[in-house]
Amino acid sequence: MSAVNPLKPSQRMKIPRQESIEQPAAERSINFLEVSFGFDEDRAVLESQRCLECKEPYCTDGCPVGIDIRGFVTLVLQKDYVGAVQKIREANYLPAICGRVCPQESQCESLCVMGKKLTPVAIGKLERFVADYEMKHQLFTPPVVTERREEKIAVVGSGPSGLTCAAELAKMGYRVTVFEALHAVGGVLRYGIPEFRLPKEILDLETERIKALGVEVYTNFVIGRTATIDELFDEWGFKAIFLGTGAGTPTFMGMPGENLSGVYSANEFLTRVNLMGAYRFPENDTPIKIGKAVGVIGGGNTAMDAVRTARRLGAERAYLIYRRSREEMPAREEEIHHAEQEGIEFLLLTNPLRILADENNWVQGLECQRMTLGEPDESGRRRPVPIPGSEFTVELQTVIEAIGQKPNPIIQATTPGLATGKRGTVVTDAQQATSRPGIFAGGDLSRGGATVILAMRDGKVAARAIAGYLQGLNSPPP
């Protein structure tokens, strides 16, 4: 590629990394509107000028789906925003979503050469800009599918892995049907990620684009219940199946008081708010109860989403209770930063012991103990060790446990011969194939708990593997 940037590298390095426009913390912590408005056109172009157009772009190595980042950033520079988003869509069919929720700081941007000495190019925000530009100006045109193939493929679950797998297969010309258990499409993007990080309008538009490829979608359809995997093969005539049912089963700490009124799993809390719209009660029927003080247990992105949601629902004090220190938190730095700005109080090195009840069986406090950090454990993070005699009580009325999810067991329990691993995950090989021929799996179902982009990567790898599998079925035996 010939360089199109008229600026010399030294000039590019003088441009500061552009910041996106954000709702002020005081305002946004009482509404559900998106925190970040992203880049305007000027900022996007200026930011694109910072790209050094490296001959060997390391950024792409950091992208789980292998987006041609240098290519699309150069198109931004040329103000060909639609060309840029089309370039992204070659590798990633959900750019408006990834531009918002991908942990770029630990992927593409972490390898950006500009970041070695200065700050990396804001790749994620550029991705979001071009995707939003295309939406705003309604410039989307579905890719032309040149070949039509007869084989029917079922995709189970409409989260990031399922949607990506469906899109990739549809682009190859296969007939794809997506089955979703809930009444709305999107999986964790729908029930898990809050409106203020990923507006449902964006998700709706992205999924419409997948339907525009000819993908058929059944909502209200629980595979393993409404129909089994074997029925999909034998009676429905599917030739291959991708499982992307995620990790939707909440885990609890196992401490006393968890069945009191006022205790939620993060899944329930977020599902009530995001899927059922409980933040608009009584306009919507689904209720949610929020105390004056709320404690969210955990240190991941789900915990951040829950505690920031609690704040928006009116919690005067919103605590994030985590047994290690800030450094070990698995949440994205940006989310931690936003939470701090919004007045979330971090109770670090704090381990909950029991939930205390009032006379009406409602939560009135959380007994905790202080921790200190010991030797590193198998995750490489320093293990938290209790400090004897350090027990104390946090006064609060709502407890939300965000300590991790595991896969829903329904499909595994109703599909003979499907090998499962630790914590109920489905075992796959590098091509996402399971122990059963014709069944592929990916995302949190096989990983146990990861990111949207890794789920998408799995969906993409599986789509190619499914195509290979089907071509193998069709070719005569040697």
Partner: protein, 285 residues
């Protein structure tokens, strides 16, 4: 959208719907439930499938109008549609030949019990059915139950019909009857009733299965809102149940937990009643 094919009022607040849901009708077994949403913005609520007709592709739901969503639902009629119906969810009732069984239904729980009594009869059991209701007009499915029962006893709290008293009185009389030989009890009704039945049968050492209604959002094991303590363990009613060993269930904890949203449910209720009244007045005009 799921079309309502037929509607039948069984009692002043109890309504039966036949709803077109062919995939569910094919798969449904006694004890399964569905999650439904009546319209946009509505709650997801669990309803036990009372019956199904696979040939017609329909399922039967029996609903008592007690809250906002159920009142909204019972205002619908044949030709209207439900926005969402998903299932069949939960584990089917374990049906075996125990010899002699007692089926105890309280209020609208009788509707949930009906398919189980049918299945128990078909499995070769002698089925003694006890139906309880607050008052005469709330007694439902007495004749239907008679078709699959060797005896049907009805109790009303106020004595307005049949035997005055609670189902536990009738059950105790049955268990005390020399040679009644009841080996298992299936009880479905309000939580206090199931608790009382379980307490009674515990003293007789007779296995008792109860079907629990809990707080529930998705119904597929995702929210954990339906959790309860059974034998000291945390269980999810939607995927581990909805039926459990009545002797192991912590009913007191569950009854307290089920009161979590009482005040908010009242708001929803009033809102829907207002809306429905307005619609009715509009229709009258």
């Amino acid at each position: 959208m799921f079309l309502i094919l037929r509607k039948k009022v069984l009692a002043p607040t109890v309504t039966q719907f036949d709803v077109k849901a062919p995939f569910i009708a094919r798969k449904r077994k006694a004890g399964n439930f569905v999650m439904i949403r009546v319209e946009e913005g509505g709650e997801r609520i669990p309803l036990t499938i009372a019956d199904s007709n696979p040939a017609e592709g329909s399922i039967t739901l029996i609903v008592q109008a007690i809250g906002g969503t159920t009142k909204l639902l019972t205002s619908k009629g044949a030709g209207d549609s439900l926005l969402d119906v998903v299932g069949p969810l939960g584990n089917p009732t374990p049906i075996e030949n125990h010899g002699v069984v007692a089926c105890v239904g309280g209020g609208v729980g009788t509707a949930e019990l009906f398919p189980i009594a049918q299945a128990l009869k078909a499995a070769g059991n002698v089925v003694h059915t006890i139906i309880g209701a607050r008052t005469r007009e709330l007694v439902i499915l007495e004749q239907e139950m008679a078709t699959c029962s060797d005896s049907v006893t009805v109790t009303t709290d106020d004595g307005s019909y049949a035997r005055k008293g609670f189902v536990t009185d009738a059950l105790k009389a049955l268990l005390d009857l020399p040679g009644s030989g009841v080996h298992a009890v299936y009880a479905i009704g309000p939580l206090p009733m199931m608790k009382a039945v379980s307490n009674l049968t515990r003293t007789y050492g007779i296995a008792t299965l109860v079907s629990l209604n809990t707080i529930m959002v998705d119904g597929t094991g995702m929210c954990g809102g339906c959790r309860l303590t059974v034998g000291g363990q945390m269980k999810f009613a939607c995927v581990d149940g909805p039926e459990f060993d009545g002797h192991a269930v912590d009913f007191d904890e569950l009854m307290k937990r089920n009161r979590t949203y009482v005040d908010m449910e009242k708001i929803t209720d009033e809102r829907h009643v207002c809306r429905l009244t307005a619609v009715r007045q509009e229709e009258i005009r």
